[in-house]
């Protein structure tokens, strides 16, 4: 197991995301929707960071379990926690937030879920980590950290609120 990001590296990545987003939204009105799980914690921390910088942030959470393309192959379905979007999607400029961008399938499911809530004016993507190996034509607008990984590696993200500790590790495929 290879530790690639420690607590301060993660905090730095969150900061970087906040800076990038603010640079693109000078008016300081930002709608973030974090993808469960862990994408929601990243969104929360980015939101805090943005608010410290004086931005106005609306925060929502999206549960994409019902939209996954692999449900039929699972021996039991993921625990549903539900989505919570306390503002209108219609005409909003949404920034989807997730912890790791990999094949892009999670984001595809997130589009389906999001669009069942309404019709946003635009959707951008912010990820804490981009580990490459895309299988769909999806690319992020805001990236905290880029990691070189092999296709079969496991990238394990632990975040303070969800897992009790901030650390990102890569488990090499043996």
């Amino acid at each position: 197991m290879n530790q690639v990001l420690n607590q301060s590296a993660i905090s730095a990545a969150i900061s970087r995301l906040a800076d990038q987003i603010l640079a693109n939204r000078p008016e300081g009105l930002i709608d973030l929707i974090g993808i469960r799980s862990r994408g929601d914690e990243v969104a929360e921390r980015v939101a805090d960071s943005l608010r410290e910088r004086g931005a106005e942030v609306r925060l929502g959470v999206l549960d994409i379990s019902l939209y996954r393309d692999d449900l039929a192959h699972l021996s039991s379905n993921p625990n549903l926690q539900g989505s919570e979007i306390p503002f209108a999607i219609d005409e909003s400029r949404i920034i989807l937030v997730d912890d790791v961008l990999f094949t892009g399938r999670t984001i595809r499911a997130a589009f389906d879920a999001l669009f069942d809530y309404g019709r946003p004016r635009s959707v951008e993507l912010a990820v804490l980590i981009d580990r490459g190996h895309r299988e769909l034509p999806i690319s992020p607008h805001y990236v905290g950290e880029t990691l070189e990984t092999e296709r079969l590696d496991h990238v394990i993200v632990n975040l303070l609120k969800t897992d009790g500790v901030d650390v990102v590790e890569i488990k090499k495929h043996s």
Binding site: D63, S65, L66, Y67, L71, A72, L74, S75, S76, N77, N79, L80, Q81, G82, S83, D112, A113, D116, Y117, G118
Partner: protein, 303 residues
Amino acid sequence: MARKDFLDVGSLDREEIIRLLDQAVPFKELFTRSVKKVPALKGKTVLMLFYEPSTRTLSSFEVAAKRLSADVTVFDVPHSSVTKGESVRDTIDTLQAMRADYIVVRHRLSGQPAAIARQTGASVINAGDGAHAHPTQALLDAFTLREVYPQMEGKKVLITGDILHSRVARSTSMILEKLGVEVAFCGPGSLVPQTSYRRFTNYDEAMKWGPDVLYLLRVQKERMDADFFPNDREYHNVYGVTERRLEEIKDRGIYIMHPGPINRGVELCDAVLDYDRCLISQQVENGIAARMSVLYNLKPQIS
């Protein structure tokens, strides 16, 4: 590893029940969206096998399945309660040919859904079998109760009516008990058997016990082949929620539930439906969410 079938409450433990209830909450939230569908069961076939007529339960399941984007087929079965020789084996052969992933079964004979489940890899959901079980009703009842009493432990629920013939009484009492609720039965002596629950045959005595919820059962005329009590009017006067009794219920803030369909003037008077603590319509609404939760949490074992 998800379970294949949902046949009765007895086979569920407390953790599983709470999980199913928790999972019903996000499904209920979907009702407020304009797009009420999610693709979780897209491409899957849900077969409705209702050997006993029922518009409400059937349509509740249909809506639940369709909101999960499943393909729903209602299988036309003969409704005659006299038809014997509806062998389980014959049914299974037909079902295999239809390649259903989920089969929702309602049957007049206790144990039929279990027998079907044993012989097919499809996920079988019991929508009510004889006087044995109605687990999805139990789930939506528990869900509804939890909405008014998030801490259910120690609450008292009085189930009143024809307990003897009621699968709802059996399943709902069992699920509530597993969630820490105290359950008692009340009704005519000929319709309330000896069970592990407290037994009342007198309405006033039952009210002294201090129930928080009155769960009224439909008086099952069609299931009785002999008279268990003289007539409807007597039942209403002795055990029903009359207008006078409703006043006391309102004073004490007791909630009223009923699985439907109601017999006006028998289990309850019309005024009950206007009482703000009557939870009957919430039960109906929660039925769809509860059934979606069940469908989402089962996995067929079809090779």
